[in-house]
């Protein structure tokens, strides 16, 4: 592919300064273009993500008709207004009779390509995980993304045991992924063969999030009330 022929003397190498200037100039043009695009699209993307998150909440809590926003931070569970959606990290779903049907929370863990972000539903009454949906992933299409569609994998969550220990400060059993077909305990996830890394990422995301969120959440269970009647 090269244009040079060996018998022709190679052209003198331009000074390093010229090369560096050219590269730096192009990098600056690139940076400028990317920065402008980011500025323009960031608010739209944020709005899209919020809408997607709202849809995901009702997807993992199909029985819910209303969702209330809560913020769990530093051992405190605070009720937020609907406008403070962006600051919330706990979403409680209530059915038409204003009964709590479950709590949706986010988890994230490293997958095969990039971080896998999921939203999962936790039922405080059963102390188990009811299901999850993927918010963001770059997993291999057709392999890693099977965690969303594989029926056998989704059957793990009916519900997946996530009870706290007696002291109530940690999970009684860590949520782990086991090899396909080796599930014996209700807190184990039967992995998808061929998509081990993504299956494990889901378990890691659940385990990490549940371990940090659930002790505080369960201690403040009474704060999870429907937004009705407050203003």
């Amino acid at each position: 592919m090269s244009d040079e022929t060996p018998n022709v003397t190679a052209p003198a190498l331009p000074s390093s300064r010229k090369l560096i200037t050219a590269l730096a100039a192009i990098a600056m043009i690139s940076g400028l273009l990317v920065a402008v695009t980011f500025q323009v699209t960031a608010p739209v993307i944020k709005k899209n993500q919020q809408e997607a998150l709202e849809r995901a909440i009702f997807q993992v809590l199909p029985e819910a008709t209303v969702a209330a926003n809560f913020q769990l931070e530093g051992g405190q569970l605070t009720a937020l207004t609907a406008e403070q959606f962006a600051d919330a990290n706990v979403f409680a779903g209530f059915n038409a009779e204003n009964q709590l049907v479950g709590v949706a929370m986010e988890g994230a863990a490293r997958g095969y390509q990039d971080v896998v972000r999921i939203l999962y539903a936790y039922d405080p009454a059963q102390e188990g995980i009811l299901g999850f949906t993927v918010l963001q992933s770059s997993e291999t299409p057709g392999i890693g993304d099977k965690v969303e569609t594989d029926d056998a994998f989704l059957a793990n969550f009916n519900p997946l045991d996530a009870r706290l220990n007696e002291a109530g400060d940690a999970l009684a059993n860590p949520i782990i992924t086991v090899k396909n077909g080796r599930k014996v305990n209700p807190w184990e996830i039967d992995g998808i063969s061929g998509a081990t890394i993504t299956s494990t990422a889901v378990a890691n995301a659940l385990n990490e999030s549940a371990a940090t969120m659930l002790p505080t959440l369960m201690a403040n269970q009474d704060a999870l009330v429907a937004p009705k009647g407050t203003d």
Binding site: A22, I26, I45, T140
Partner: protein
């Protein structure tokens, strides 16, 4: 490719059409096959991927052509990659702003446009040696050719694999989808079918042409 590739090419219709027919990136040059096989399971994904690639191809072609006298030869590949990566990032943001679902469907393949050899190939072999207008027209042709090729595969795979076209139900409920076409192997089957068809048509045309010259 008989002419000296370094000589700037005059603008002609062929500048545009070579990417669609004579040098179609997918069916003739077999370049950029990774997205061709991976994200053509539905016609919508194929079209979105094709348009995203078309945009990157156009913008990087124009910018490379604009800067062709400034970029030192020794660092040209690095410069092209920076330029291409810039536009890929822009496309990535744009698709996220248009539809997050589409962004999820295309997954990692948007970022992977950076390493699509069609784009680097055009920058190196065409845009860096021709005027901005030529580079634009040529990249447009290549992009349209690439998009059409993706659409050809996407349409076949969606109809056979899902029984739908652009998510519109084509057959009744009794239709049993041919699931393998929605899965990765279906990409190979569909591509092989199209390659066969293309090769057959090209051969027929070449035979007809040589017969004409014989008569003359």
């Amino acid at each position: 490719m008989a002419t000296d590739p370094r000589a700037p090419e005059p603008l002609s219709l062929a500048t545009f059409t070579q990417g669609i027919w004579k040098e179609n990136p997918v069916f003739v040059m077999l370049l950029g096959l990774c997205p061709v096989l991976a994200v053509t399971n539905t016609a919508t994904n194929a079209l979105a991927m094709g348009l995203a690639t078309l945009f990157v191809l156009l913008c990087s072609g124009v910018l490379v052509s604009l800067l062709r006298k400034v970029i030192p030869k020794q660092v040209r590949i690095a410069c092209y990659i920076i330029i291409i990566a810039t536009f890929v990032t822009i496309v990535d943001y744009a698709i996220q702003a248009i539809s997050l679902d589409l962004h999820r469907a295309l997954g990692a393949f948007i970022q992977l446009i950076v390493v699509n050899c069609v784009i680097l190939g055009r920058a190196e072999s065409y845009a860096s040696k021709n005027t901005v207008i030529n580079a634009f027209v040529n990249a447009l042709g290549m992009g349209v050719g690439f998009t059409l090729a993706l659409l050809c595969l996407g349409v076949v795979r969606e109809i056979l694999g899902f029984g739908t076209l652009f998510a519109i139900e084509l057959f009744g409920a009794s239709f049993q989808p041919w699931a393998v076409f929605a899965l990765p192997p279906g990409g190979f089957f569909a591509l092989a079918g199209w390659l066969f068809l293309f090769a057959y048509i090209r051969k027929r045309r070449a035979a007809a042409q040589s017969e004409e010259t014989h008569v003359a």
